[in-house]
Symmetry: C2
Subunit: 325 residues, 2 copies
């Protein structure tokens, strides 16, 4: 028997999902908060929303800090709005994993775009569990998709593994670079070469922009000999709205390309697979964690390991043997 | 009965661990390759090395791309060498997760330091499994520790969650920033404020260095009212070797501080706990993944989900119920 409060809660969760499907912005906001907090409601909400997903075009936007990704996203969003499309924006902020909270988003995004009912903007912080962000982002994308957004931007600041994982939620991935990033740019370029479907050099009026375009083109030529799609490299000046339409044309070209030859379907199948494995891994991890924390075994293990009587590898082997026999 | 080849392999793995403990550099290199590839040998090697760990001082070095972390690490390593300490350096490179391989390290690190027998440098790429890098890095640190290194630098390029996870392997964490990083610097500063034990403003001869120092100090003052340790903010010009000794003095001060009041012991206990849970999560994840891939169920699930007959959350719930009953 479920206690009455839980029944009521469960009733309300269904309502949140229903309200998202009815186009209620507040409900969408609550649904994403549930996803972010990984609370119990979120699974029920996602189950209800899932059948209504798969319609939106998901555009990943990534690149190093300072590349002007938010500005570019805003300009592109405005252009898509002019074309009558509804827009969702998910901005991943590199906030403190300890105190939580998304600092960047709310501050920078206070502009005209937020007054437009056809645009839904949401910042997501990196608080919470290890590696859980890619999964949460994917769920937030699905919530916006079920809500009815035509195009969803997923914007990440950074160049690390978590950003790459997040970008995997996208149909098309755009990499934004700027001239004059210093030594690490070589490594960054190497790291993102294979995830970019379209490359953008922002601040194209700055020194070194043409050189950067040439370098990227060279790397792509070396890399892309046997590939069907050669990523274009577009110059833009986002804050002056220069080059934005041309960039969108390239992005649409890529989207048409992956739609027409089955790559989109393939990518989405792959994504569904990764998703199952990802959810499975995190659920089972938290189940077992909880179990060995609750029965006090974790503390015992730590004491034994500290005394060098055993080691983490042996401990894990024993726990696994016991749980999965 | 184990087949003879496996017995031989197992024999060789023990040799690798023994050779690491004997101070054989080639063996250390092989051990870390095993760790990186997550091959079967690595667990046996780590079990053997584990009792010999816990002696090295582990210094995390993080900050945004272009901050000059490698240059600073090199200068600091030279200074520690002068003081008779042996040095290990693990450089995490944001390389392609698809093609693998560490591009940055080998190219940039070709300097005098690599000829010094007292220094062991290793690049680790972000290839391989989701979130596995923090665990692999922690194992590489342990291998260097067992090998006998006195101080081990763990250097990460980036500001994402994976970098933060990696830094958790450190006793003391140094954050390197430079003036003129653009808008995202606010978010970066917010994100790293709580992980930094010592802050360094590199390229201190550039415009805006003093302003950046003031900004960081202000944020630390706001944040640190109730804290025992107020992170210092040091100016350096790494490529001219200016300020490096003063920086090391601050780092030693922090190390003495955490040693004397039990924080170091506490951090290491916490780390051991996280480590058990981390290894447990990844092992169990790959076990179950393998299982549902092997029996063909994953493909069936994906087809059903694509037809929207079910959803990933329901599928995962069913798999878990079955495996963990």
């Amino acid at each position: 028997m479920l206690p009455p409060v839980l029944c009521f809660e469960r009733g309300r969760d269904m309502d949140i999902a229903e309200e998202v499907l009815n186009g209620n912005r507040l409900a969408l906001s609550r649904a994403i908060t549930s996803i972010e907090n990984e609370d119990e409601k979120s699974t029920e909400i996602m189950k209800r929303l899932y059948p209504h997903t798969g319609h939106a075009f998901v555009l990943g936007v990534t690149g190093p800090p300072g590349a002007g990704k938010s500005t570019l996203t805003d300009k592109m969003a405005r252009e898509y709005r002019k074309r009558g499309m509804t827009v969702g924006i998910i901005a991943i902020d590199p906030t403190s994993p300890f105190s939580g909270g998304a600092i960047l988003g709310d501050r920078i995004r206070m502009n005209g775009l937020t007054l437009d009912e056809g645009v839904f903007i949401r910042s997501m912080g990196t608080r919470g569990s290890l590696g859980g962000l890619s999964h949460k982002t994917a769920d937030a994308v699905k919530a916006m998709d079920a809500f009815g957004k035509d195009i969803i931007f997923v914007e990440t600041v950074g160049v690390g593994q978590s950003e790459v994982d997040i970008v995997k939620a996208a149909d098309t991935t755009m990499v934004v670079l700027i001239p004059g990033m210093g030594d690490d740019i070589q490594a960054i370029k190497a790291g993102i070469l294979e995830i970019g479907d379209v490359f953008t050099v922002n601040k194209a009026d700055h020194d070194g922009a043409d050189k950067l375009v040439r370098e990227i083109n060279m790397m792509l030529d070396l890399d892309g000999v046997m590939k069907d799609w050669r990523p274009p490299v577009e110059k833009v000046i986002a804050n002056q709205n220069i080059g934005v339409k041309e960039l969108i044309a390239q992005i649409e070209k890529h989207y048409d390309y992956i739609k027409s030859n089955g790559i989109l379907a393939e990518r989405r199948t792959k994504r569904t697979k990764d998703e199952i494995l990802d959810i499975l891994g995190s659920r089972i991890g938290s189940y077992i964690t909880q179990k060995i924390v609750d029965d006090g075994r974790l503390d015992d293990y730590v004491e034994q390991i500290k005394a060098r009587k055993t080691d983490p590898y042996t401990v894990v082997g024993n726990v696994l043997d016991e749980m999965l026999k």
